[in-house]
Symmetry: none
Subunit: 209 residues, 2 copies
DNA sequence: ACTCTTCTGATACACTTGTTCCTGAAACAA
DNA sequence: TTGTTTCAGGAACAAGTGTATCAGAAGAGT
């Protein structure tokens, strides 16, 4: 048994409680007061240990910069809900500033879904035109903006000839592009490369009921 | 048009970005630098305004204590991933202790998805037997355990006669139960009330690609 | 006993940071 | 005009705060 009934974990728990209650991190002196430690240097010592052991992260010389590593993973990323996606109307391509300005609505997703990718936005599906991608009316598709996708990836595609948007798996074949519905019972479609315009990659679909 | 293209919202957005990137709040001087404001006092002035208007909260004289009111209530709930759901095999009914003991895997969801409901668990879909519910192989269904659902709600149902599980919308009709596929182009099925066993209510579907 | 590591204590320095006070410009209303 | 409100700029103070240093106590292993 350790001499002191683990000052270290007492400090860690204090930080957790402090963050929950106040919304920002404690200072070394806050911790000293809260854990009955008489001096900042002891706290400093343990904080250094905790950082070495990977429990917390601190930015040197920045006040109240303690971060719990255990809460780093479960960070919430906010994804702007930029509009709707429907067969007949083009995908609203996000303007560069729509990430910084407040969109009408934002989704809160854990990094488990977004995988911390960049340039992500969300669209609400309108209508049942995407059922062959197993996407229903009211679903939300999470899209990563890009103009190129790997073969087999589900992409948001604008079909110039038909003035229509669809979600299909992309396969490049010689002289043509095959658009394969996610629903395997359905038939693929073929287009010339210049007829399709890739708007983004679908990285997730969300259905709230 | 305001004289300055809204310094106030620029500051607000800077705080959002700073919090996302660094994990703690900026100081008035951080904001000044980030928003091309030459002096802390101007930032101070706008922060006072923002607090008056209810956008932020600050603890006076506490460094880095800016909190965004819009982010006050955000909770991550951990949902146990209890197994797989496939047409031919019964739904693994969660044992009472499987919520407390660590399951093989847990999902992290924001309250936006779970709506803070209780008795929620997740199942990974195996096979394409649920395509008529617009649920694909590999999807994850979030289920709230219950034995009763409202008419029209999507439910996980065990068909005793066929020894099969499906996801269908439930409608009680006189003397029979109608199971309506989510895909409207498909036909409903009818069963006697004693032939179906409701295992839970589907509250969300997740597709990671 | 002895050394070594771990932990606690006190003090002090230098920098960070919230805050205040003053000045002044621009817009607007009476 | 005059006054009021809103916003920008500068400077400075006082307190909060991270950090370094020195000293010493308490156990563990040899």
């Amino acid at each position: 048994m350790p001499r002191v009934s683990d000052t270290r974990s007492r400090i860690l728990n204090f930080i957790r409680r402090f963050l929950d209650r106040r919304g920002y991190a404690p200072t070394v002196r806050d911790i000293a007061r809260g854990c009955n430690i008489s001096t900042p240097s002891v706290v400093q010592y343990h904080l250094n240990m905790l950082e070495e052991q990977g429990f917390i992260h601190r930015d040197p010389a920045v006040f109240r910069s303690i971060q719990l590593v255990e809460r780093k993973r479960e960070a919430i990323s906010r994804v702007p809900l930029l509009g709707t996606i429907a067969a007949g109307s083009p995908i609203p391509v996000p303007a560069p500033d729509s990430w910084t300005t407040t969109p009408e609505e934002t989704l809160q997703l854990t990094s488990e879904l977004t995988q911390d990718k960049k340039d992500i936005y969300a669209l609400r599906v309108k209508g049942t035109s995407l059922v062959d991608a197993l996407v229903d009316d009211g679903d939300i598709v999470i899209i990563q903006q890009t103009t190129t996708v790997e073969d087999g990836e589900l992409a948001a595609v604008w079909l110039k000839t038909q003035q229509e948007v669809t979600l299909k798996k992309i396969y490049r074949e010689k002289g043509r592009i095959r658009l394969q519905p996610a629903n395997k019972t359905m038939q693929p479609m073929y287009f010339k490369p210049e007829e399709v315009e890739i708007q983004g990659k679908v990285i997730a679909v969300l259905r709230k009921l």
